[in-house]
Structures are given as structure tokens and as C-alpha cells.
Symmetry: C2
Subunit: 125 residues, 2 copies
DNA sequence: ATTATATGAAACCCATAGGTGTCACGTCAA
DNA sequence: TTGACGTGACACCTATGGGTTTCATATAAT
């Protein structure tokens, strides 16, 4: 129940303009006009992109005076990460293993086993 | 020159059918007809999706007799991973740091410093 | 009170994405 | 040789995505 997610996250990040918007919001909360300044498209177009990002649960917004400030809401990117995680086994077993171990560690904070890097091995192909 | 990448990877994985195709190919090399069996759309439609995945460099294909076998080619998913990596700092600093360190290690194979888990700290900005 | 600013919503345009069916061709089986 | 199988290339259709312009409204500034 983390988010309504009326729009697919994969779909939301498919557009390069929206990806740039997310990067911008990663730096700081911004108003619509402020963001529009970074593009050569109309403010209305930017607004549409923001709506899509909002429907995907990737940004939130709140009004400050007459302007609408948008904030990055990266939680739903986890879905993307989880998807990608499945494929990481195909190109880098070592990194996938490490991530697995780290996530295990996250779930049991009282334990803190000494993590060590495994032997280096070249990519299978 | 790893790939032509005529199609954006983000765009390529935006479609759920194409994501399913990638998952299928993650299990094993498959022919077009074989993949079509997993969907309710026409073979021609599947073929188009495969072309898009191919243009994005995510799959490769080779002919075996009269059938065309497709294989997963996950290298270009790194672009997606790199993009996502930037945002991970906003939801999980520890994991992002570890990944960074691991990748650093990948780049300098002659050195092998003892990596230790660092303390969790809030994003710098 | 009046004007400028910041925004949202609506109507509209056009390119393209995703789907279909058809046809031709190479390959495997009888 | 003949026919079924597996596929690629085309032509076509329709919904939607990303863009625009215009209009209305609320807030800030003078």
C-alpha cells in the first residue's frame, strides 16, 4: 500500500525529460517554473510530465504560496531495482552476491558479520 | 562500441511484454514461436518486440535451422543500473556506498584493500 | 484596486507505438 | 516433390504520448 502507482514506474522513467526531472529533484525541491527553465519545452508540457511522475509515485508536491513545489519520492524506484536485481546474476555474480549479503545484513541489524570481498574473477563473457 | 543501441534501454524495458521476454530469455535461449506461446498476441507482434530489444542491445539472435533463437544480452542493462545507482543514495546510503566500493575495486584489479562497512550517514544534500 | 506571476485544466495536433493480417521464402518431414 | 513449419517483411489500423495554445484562477506585488 506504499503508493497508488496509477502509472508504471518503468513507463514513467522511459522518457528522458522525466528522467532529467527526477535528477533535478534529486538535488533539491523545485517549483514548476524553476524546472521548466531547464528545458526548451513549454511549462504545460513539464506539468504533464510531473503528473505522470506523480501518478507513478516518484514525486510528491505541496503548495507554497502561489507555486507548487515538487519533491523526489524515490521509494518506488525499488521496484525497478528489484527487477534489475534479477538480471544482475547474468553479468556480475560477485556484485549480486555482495548486494544479497548487504541486504541480509540490513534485515538483522544486531548482527554484524565481517564482510569480505570474494576472489576476483573476470566476467564470464 | 559495445552496442549500436539504436533504441534507448529505458524505452526498451518500458513495455511489460518486453520485460517478460527478457525474463524468459533469462532462463534459456528460445525461438520466436516458443516465446509467442507465452503470450496472447500474434507472433508478428512478438517479433517486433524482439526487434526493439535487439536494437537496444538487450538480446542477440542466431539462426538454427528454420528457427531463430534469441539470447539474453544483459550488458546494456548496466546503463539502467548506473542510472538507478544515483538515486539509491536517497533511500539506502549503506548499500550505495558498498556498491561504489565494489565497483572501485573492479577497476583496479591489482589492489585489494580490505573493505569495511562504513557507518551510515545522511545524504550530503 | 490593479497588475504581474505561477499554475492547472482543456482542446487540439501529429507522430509513433503496439497491434493485426497477409504474403513470400527457406527449411524440415514424408 | 510436396507440404507443413518457422520466420521476416509489409501494409494497415487505432490508441496514446508528448507537444502546443488558450483560458481561468489564485497569490504576490505595487
Amino acid at each position: 500500500m506504499s503508493s497508488a502507482a496509477k502509472v508504471d514506474v518503468f513507463q514513467a522513467i522511459a522518457d528522458p525529460t522525466r528522467r532529467t526531472l527526477l535528477k533535478l529533484l534529486g538535488k533539491q525541491e523545485m517549483s514548476v517554473a524553476q524546472m521548466t527553465g531547464h528545458f526548451s519545452i513549454s511549462r504545460t508540457a513539464v506539468n504533464k510530465h510531473l503528473h505522470i511522475l506523480s501518478d507513478a509515485g516518484l514525486v510528491s508536491h505541496h503548495k507554497v504560496g502561489r507555486e507548487t513545489r515538487y519533491q523526489l519520492q524515490p521509494d518506488n524506484l525499488r521496484e525497478l531495482k528489484d527487477w534489475l536485481n534479477y538480471f544482475e546474476q547474468f553479468w556480475d555474480n560477485k556484485l549480486a552476491m555482495l548486494k544479497f549479503l548487504v541486504e541480509q545484513d540490513e534485515d538483522s541489524p544486531e548482527e554484524n558479520p565481517p564482510l569480505r570481498l570474494v576472489e576476483k574473477k573476470p566476467p564470464s563473457e
